[in-house]
């Protein structure tokens, strides 16, 4: 990091030996912890008795149950993609184009699921609508398992993942050049015609990108299928059962490949679509003056969409909070803190380990991310395109697949890491790496190279320029990357389920096993602690470290 920003001279070989060493080091880390596990996974899935063979894949595909799981995965993904995109589009439209009160609140609530573990949705749905759920069992007196299966998964995943599509569409709606719509209006197109001939054609690639994004999230989700899947097997839960339940590694690896291929295809398709939306938005003046719809019916509709959706989200969190503070939620509603004390007694190690490893991962990911961002954005080194591509692969690989790859790759010499804290930190930081790189590249693009030159011209040495100019300017990006890595690490389940060990336990797998045991109260209490912790980090850390220079512009 020290030499990272040591001026633009690093494209001149020999002048900055530290960077000359750091580049191959960064490349080696990326190759070892991203490329190698995927290769290892492929080897397990496509090797039999030391030879290349598609027998494991063929065997997996020949089982009707697995074919059912593939079909289910696609069906679930498609449903979540379509419903989630419609919901996200309505939400984003209401937020950007309709005049209504409470926008800050609706925005905050819509984003809450993005920083919570996805299993939280499953937990609250079980508390409300499960076999002994408050609504189904206690209020309606039903003895039903209707929640478990397709519809339960659809609800849980739409609630968990539509916010990601909402964020994507929000930026798109905001960025769309208003003068295009105005121009259509002056040429005689009434508002409906403007929507049909100008706005929608420009938004289609973005809507498709949102769809594909949601499809990918649904694909990769493990927690909800495990808890709510019931008789509706999907690929991710089948991988888990193959590895943890049957200890059948070739089978698990083959299933993981079946999950990886479409997920990777979807990712690259989404990237392609997102690039196509770029031409629709210009930002700047044109983007600022979208007329706000003031029609009472539109306002009411917008409030119903945003308020209703927010209410549902609030209800999930309220349910978990209630579950954490009552003796037996729905049956004995006496207030108690005993779940919290039980959690703090029994799962303290998981909490401490999660925080410690999360912080370690945040530091590692931020340093590596900014370093790679620097090589990619500011140098012309050989192979930097390949480095960028590989380092961004974790976006395309479902967490379950990365986790399994890690478990397989580092379970034998020369790199026996299973059971260590290192493997967990590596899994955490590699998953977040694409985001820290993106944040670093964005920050570097805002820092014009003339700033380095100005500093040098004013008499600063390379080191002074680094310390006084570049690092202070990169600091917000580094901090944002660290916060993101921490948040994502402590809330992920899929990526760590195969690498946790008795020595190093983590919060999300602990919640999963508590729910497995039926300790819903403790699971809820631990979830509450996790959400509060993440919110405190997201809102507290930026306040502690001070203002972002970009905000004051």
């Amino acid at each position: 990091m020290t030499a990272l920003a040591a001026g633009r001279g690093l494209s001149e070989p020999g002048r900055s030996w530290a960077l000359a060493l750091l580049y191959p080091l960064a490349a080696a880390i990326v190759a070892l912890f991203i490329a190698y596990p995927v290769v290892e996974l492929l080897a397990h899935a496509a090797m039999s008795d030391g030879r290349v063979s598609f027998a494991p894949l063929a065997r997996v595909l020949s089982e009707p149950y697995n074919r059912q799981a593939i079909y289910n995965t696609l069906l679930l993904g498609l449903t979540v993609a379509v419903l989630g995109t419609i919901l996200a589009a309505l939400y984003a439209y209401a937020m950007t184009r309709v005049e209504m009160p409470g926008k800050a609140v609706w925005h905050f609530l819509a984003l809450l699921p993005t920083i919570s573990p996805p299993i939280l949705m499953a937990l609250s749905l079980i508390l409300l609508y499960g076999r002994r759920g408050l609504v189904t069992h206690e209020l309606l007196g039903l003895q039903t398992t209707a929640l478990y299966g397709y519809w339960g998964l659809v609800v849980a995943q739409v609630l968990s993942y539509f916010p990601f599509a909402y964020l994507l569409l929000l930026n798109l709606f905001r960025g769309l050049d208003a003068s295009l719509e105005e121009a259509a209006g002056t040429m005689g197109a009434h508002p409906g015609k403007v929507l049909a001939t100008v706005s929608l054609p420009l938004l289609v690639p973005g809507l498709a990108a949102a769809c594909v994004l949601l499809f990918g999230y649904s694909f990769a989700d493990l927690g909800n299928p495990l808890l709510l899947g019931g008789d509706f097997p999907v690929l991710s839960s089948q991988i888990y059962l193959a590895i943890i339940g049957q200890y059948n590694i070739p089978r698990g690896a083959a299933l993981a490949i079946l999950l990886l291929l479409p997920a990777a295809l979807l990712f690259f398709f989404q990237k392609h679509l997102s690039a196509r939306t770029a031409h629709a938005s210009v930002g700047g003046r044109g983007a600022l003056r979208h007329p706000q719809v003031r029609h009472p019916a539109a306002k009411a509709g917008a409030l119903v969409v945003c308020g209703g959706m927010s209410l549902v989200i609030v209800m999930q969190y309220a349910t978990v909070l209630a579950g954490a503070t009552t003796r037996i939620f729905g049956i004995n509603n006496t207030f108690t803190l005993r779940h919290f004390s039980a959690v703090l007694a029994g799962s303290r190690n998981a909490l401490v380990d999660t925080i410690g490893l999360g912080v370690a991962a945040a530091i590692a990911s931020a340093i590596l991310g900014v370093l790679i961002a620097y090589f990619v954005a500011r140098t012309r080194r050989f192979g930097r395109g390949m480095l960028d591509f590989t380092a961004n692969l974790p976006l395309a690989i479902p967490g379950t697949v990365i986790g399994l790859g890690f478990a397989l790759a580092f379970n034998h010499r020369p790199l026996l890491l299973t059971g260590t804290a290192f493997i967990i930190v590596a899994a955490f930081s590699m998953r977040a790496l694409p985001y820290t790189i993106r944040s670093g590249v964005a920050a570097l693009q805002q820092i014009h190279p003339s700033l380095d030159e100005a500093s040098t011209n004013l008499g600063a040495t390379r080191e002074q320029t680094l310390w006084r100019v570049l690092l202070p300017l990169l600091r917000p990006a580094v901090i944002a990357g660290m916060i993101f890595t921490f948040t994502r690490s402590v809330t992920t389940l899929s990526a760590v389920i195969f690498v946790v060990s008795p020595h190093w336990s983590l919060v999300t797998p602990t919640i999963l096993s508590q729910m497995d045991r039926g300790d819903l109260g403790e699971a809820a209490a631990l979830s509450v602690i996790l959400v509060v912790l993440v919110l405190a980090v997201i809102h507290g850390v930026p306040r502690l470290v001070g203002r972002d220079w970009r905000e004051s512009a």
Partner: protein, 376 residues
Amino acid sequence: MKDSRLDISALDTTAAKTLEIRGLRKTYTMRGGRSVPAVRDFTLSVAPGEFVTLLGPSGCGKTTVLRTLAGLEEPDAGEILLDARAITQLPAHRRRIGLVFQNYALFPHMTVSENVAYSMRIRSAPADATRTEVAAALKAVGLEALGTRLPSQLSGGQQQRVALARALVMKPDLLLFDEPLSNLDAKLRVQVRGELKRLQKQLGTTTIYVTHDQDEAMSLSDRIAVMNAGRVEQVGTPEEIYARPASLFVADFVGQVNALPGRVTGYADGRATIDVLGHRVTLRADRNPPPDVLVLVRPEAVRLSGAGDGAIIAVVEELDYRGDRIEYRIRIGDTMLVAIEAALGRRGRVAPGDRVGVELAEDALHLLPAKMEMPA
């Protein structure tokens, strides 16, 4: 568009319209409830086929007036009449007013032809008529060969012409331009400006043009409305605006000006006698001016001669060579003046510190009451 005589028969407009804007007012409410008046009591009459420019600094409300005409902003008060028909309440898409945007606003997902054909497609015009008129419009702007390109494949100047063709094809009752040349480089700007003027004269469409560039306004307009802080300061021909500005703001905005305090000592037969710079001048004045006045004199009306030749003696403080002209800063007593002389063909050389004679071209002097002095 290169050729000044082009075939515009397909673009013939119906009879040009009269535009009447009365008492237009618009106030924006900012975040936090603060309200900012953008346009206050704007009134303007435009004759059929006339080219009128709204000229003013950024934030003076000129673009708001334009957007209100197009129906993109709703005025708080006021009336807009086209040939005596009120259109104030009409939504934008029913006005038939062509607007050329500053950023052109070309649809990025349509080809040049599709962009130009848009208004006809919206009105479900017959396909062959659409083809003919799109071709004519593209020919009029010299882009007949580029119909199949996407806007992103065109240069800035070409995009600007597509935007113009797109507005012409609608045969608008009124043609509006929102700083259409501001994204072009200086040479191209002058060229396109000439083409624009010729095209407008041939089509005879009533036109409102918004700019902050006084050169552009002078060169294009039949009349100019100079705006400041949401109000019209003066409406007049380019010559009136330049030679007889109604306020110091107008005088200053359309060029350099020397404003000299003077005292009126007499008025008879439409001529005022004024003491300025310790000398007496007589000049035309329509009314009896107040005793304290500002005498405005453009730098090019300040003539320098050898010391002793002129009535007034000045000292040259500074000399600024500008290629086609030379600007002198000269001091007369305590008053600084700017004088401009063509760089070529002048008699004798002047250096800083020289004493020179000064003559004010009396027919180029203009009077303003001293009290009206505007904050800069």
